[in-house]
């Protein structure tokens, strides 16, 4: 591993997103300016105003950052839009970069490249999280009280509902669009096999699952919340059902971030004390490389094309680490 460079973003790093051309990194701290860093220089190239009391997770849309926050505002390309009262804690663009969405209370707003609101979906409950389908540009999953729903942009009612009565805090799609996973308020995860319309409830976690990620080949799901990361096999007809997961230990405190490399398939995990694990999987076995960094790891983002990891720390430091 080699440290290629680092810089300060001022506060706990809420999210890190590589641009679609893989040249720039969007860095969103909990408060203060939202930054764009260049890969070549490993330093800050642009700054965008923050959102008062707190920023939401930002994203790239048509080559530009879209930001949001507790002030209930969305900003992109010098334009600001405020749909109503209430915080906005994430913005996400869809798979073909033609639309982006924000959730505010019980409404999901879908906007286009002119920052114009195209559609508004009234949700059965506030969206704790949402995620665009990785394969269908007009489909989106929302998660919150009651479970998860699948929507088609432009339609008023969901085309699929996964109601189980409890509450979901996070949602994650597999890259092939087969699996939809929700992290629940209780220590459990729901995994839905979309083509089979088959739900699976995975329990037995030590605590609430705070972060999860699918591998780029959609064959593994990493879930974490405690110091142990559980990696579920998602291949075959049944996926994780009845399968024995891999338990990756070696972290010193609760794991707060997990990410699979699109380039190498390696899993990176980061905990609240700064322990970074880089895990390689080989035929049911795993090897892990452990590195202790100077402060807690809040966000991780692998470069889309290179064996390079961006690490966001809870003290605001952002580091580029090459695995070569």
């Amino acid at each position: 591993m080699k440290n290629l460079g680092e810089f300060e973003a001022g506060d706990n790093i809420l999210s890190l997103k590589w641009s679609r051309d893989a040249a720039k990194l969007l860095v969103t701290p909990s408060t203060g300016d939202i930054l764009v860093a260049g890969l070549e220089e490993c330093s800050v190239k642009e700054r965008f105003s923050g959102h008062g009391m707190g920023n939401g997770s930002s994203d790239w849309f048509q080559g530009e950052p879209v930001t949001c926050g507790f002030d209930g505002k969305v900003r992109r390309a010098g334009k600001e839009w405020a749909p109503g009262r209430g915080m906005i804690d994430r913005v996400k663009s869809n798979c073909d970069d033609s639309l982006f969405a924000v959730a505010q209370n019980r409404r999901l707003h879908v906007l286009n490249g002119a920052n114009e609101p195209l559609y508004m979906i009234d949700l059965p409950a506030s969206a704790a999280d949402f995620g665009w389908s990785p394969t269908q540009a007009g489909e989106i999953a929302t998660a919150g009280a009651g479970g998860a729903c699948l929507w088609r942009v432009g339609e008023d009612n969901p085309f699929a509902r996964f109601d189980w009565g409890g509450a979901c805090l996070g949602v994650e799609w597999s890259a092939d669009g087969r699996w939809l996973a929700t992290a629940d308020q209780t220590p459990s995860v729901h995994v839905y096999d979309i083509p089979r319309d088959h739900p699976l409830h995975i329990q037995g976690f030590e605590g609430k699952v705070r972060t999860m990620a699918f591998s780029p080949d959609s064959k593994r799901l990493a879930t974490a919340g405690s110091p142990v990361v559980t990696v579920w096999p998602c291949k075959g007809k049944k996926g994780p059902e009845g399968a024995t997961p891999i338990q990756v230990d070696g972290s010193e405190s609760e794991v707060l971030a997990v990410a699979f490399s699109p380039k190498t398939g390696q899993l990176a995990t980061g905990d609240g004390k700064g322990t970074l694990l880089v895990v390689s999987f080989e035929s049911g076995q795993f090897r892990r490389k452990r590195t202790r960094l100077t402060s807690g790891i809040a966000s991780l983002a692998w470069h889309p094309l290179l064996p390079l990891l961006a690490i966001g720390h809870d003290n605001g430091n952002v580091m580029f680490l090459s695995m070569e």
Binding site: G10, D11, N12, L14, S30, T31, G52, M53, G54, F70, G72, R85, G86, M87, D89, N105, R106, A125, S126, A128, G144, A145, G146, G165, G166, A167, L169, Q185, T186, G207, K208, A298, D314, N315, G316
Partner: protein
């Protein structure tokens, strides 16, 4: 790491919550207070420290009121706890019709919030001019009074002094534990709102089950919601006490809004203090008796409580 205190501000529409919030945000008290206001507040407060949110109820266990928490608070506070410049205090305003239960339960149930925050208390604003009608017409007003650690009897200038005493007794009949302050235009020392300590187990030792008796009206309930205080000499059998409270909250937790107590438990030198909300109960050592008589005192606030059954149940726990 010290936990950030949280105060829950509740009260019916028009009771003066916005006036009090504005006072808290503008007065020079030297504290950095984050305010989470509900989206449907009477007036949106435009202030850099205010976050507006929709109350989002999460049922963790299908349909059980005791397992209902506020999802929006989990997300907002989760984010606030991560930021570098922390707050001295967090104040959460509920809607006028909200049940404070899920707000309080959120801080008991969510591990992350439990670790990083501490509920200081529930402060309920009451419109002295309209409270009688509200208590008769809605369950929500009663429940907000029942949950309170502090009741701010506001708009007292609109009610004759002699009526205020009767009003206070009426409120006291519902909630024997709360401290009551009379105000006009929500003009109250901020410390009385913020430094409540209502969920602090150390404060549970201040339980006074005779408060109702002192006002001589505990047998004349105007409402379904009232307080039951029990006091008994002697020592409890710890196992019996545990079994009784477990059974009680399992069977009647839905109707028990708050409970607090201090017990003398056999073979335990220190006081045992406990407090709870619905089915969630917390107990700890309350320190030495320090010369005070070893006796038991407990107060329950709830709906249609059976005073005789509670008394009998508790007496079965005596060693």
């Amino acid at each position: 790491m010290s936990r950030i205190p949280v105060t829950i501000l509740t009260g019916f529409l028009g009771s003066g919550k916005t006036t009090l919030l504005n006072r808290i945000l503008t007065e020079k008290h030297g504290l950095r207070i984050a305010v989470i206001e509900n989206e449907f507040g009477e007036v949106g407060i435009d202030h850099e420290l205010v976050i507006s949110t929709d109350e989002e109820l999460f049922e963790m266990n299908n349909g059980c009121i005791c397992c209902t928490v506020r999802g929006d608070l989990i997300r907002i506070l989760g984010n606030l706890m991560k930021r570098r410049d922390k707050f001295d205090h967090i104040l959460i305003e509920t809607t006028g019709l909200a049940d404070p239960g899920p707000v309080v339960q959120t801080f008991f149930v969510d591990d992350e919030l439990r670790e990083k925050t501490i509920v200081n208390g529930v402060v309920t604003l009451v419109d002295a001019h309209h409270i009688v009608g509200q208590l008769e017409q809605t369950h929500e007003a009663e429940e907000q009074v029942a949950f309170a650690d502090v009741i701010v009897l506001n708009k007292c200038d609109l009610v004759p002094e002699e009526n205020l005493d009767a009003l206070e007794q009426r409120v006291r009949g519902i909630n024997a534990l709360a401290t009551i302050h009379r105000t006009t235009r929500a003009d109250i020392d901020i410390a009385k709102v913020l430094e409540v300590g209502g969920f602090n187990l150390d404060r549970a030792v201040e339980v006074n089950p005779h408060f109702l008796d002192a006002h001589g009206h505990h047998h004349h309930h105007h409402s379904e919601i009232f307080s039951v205080g029990i006091e008994a000499e002697g020592e409890c059998d710890g196992r019996k006490l545990n079994d009784w409270i477990s059974k009680l909250v399992r069977e009647q937790g839905k109707d028990i809004f708050r409970m607090k107590g201090v017990f003398a438990v056999k073979n335990q030198a220190d006081r045992v203090v406990f407090q709870g909300v619905h089915m969630l109960v917390d107990a700890a050592s309350g320190g030495p008796w320090a010369g005070r008589p070893r006796k038991n005192a407990v107060v329950f606030i709830g709906r249609n409580l059976n005073r005789e059954a509670l008394n009998a149940g508790f007496r079965m726990c005596l060693a």
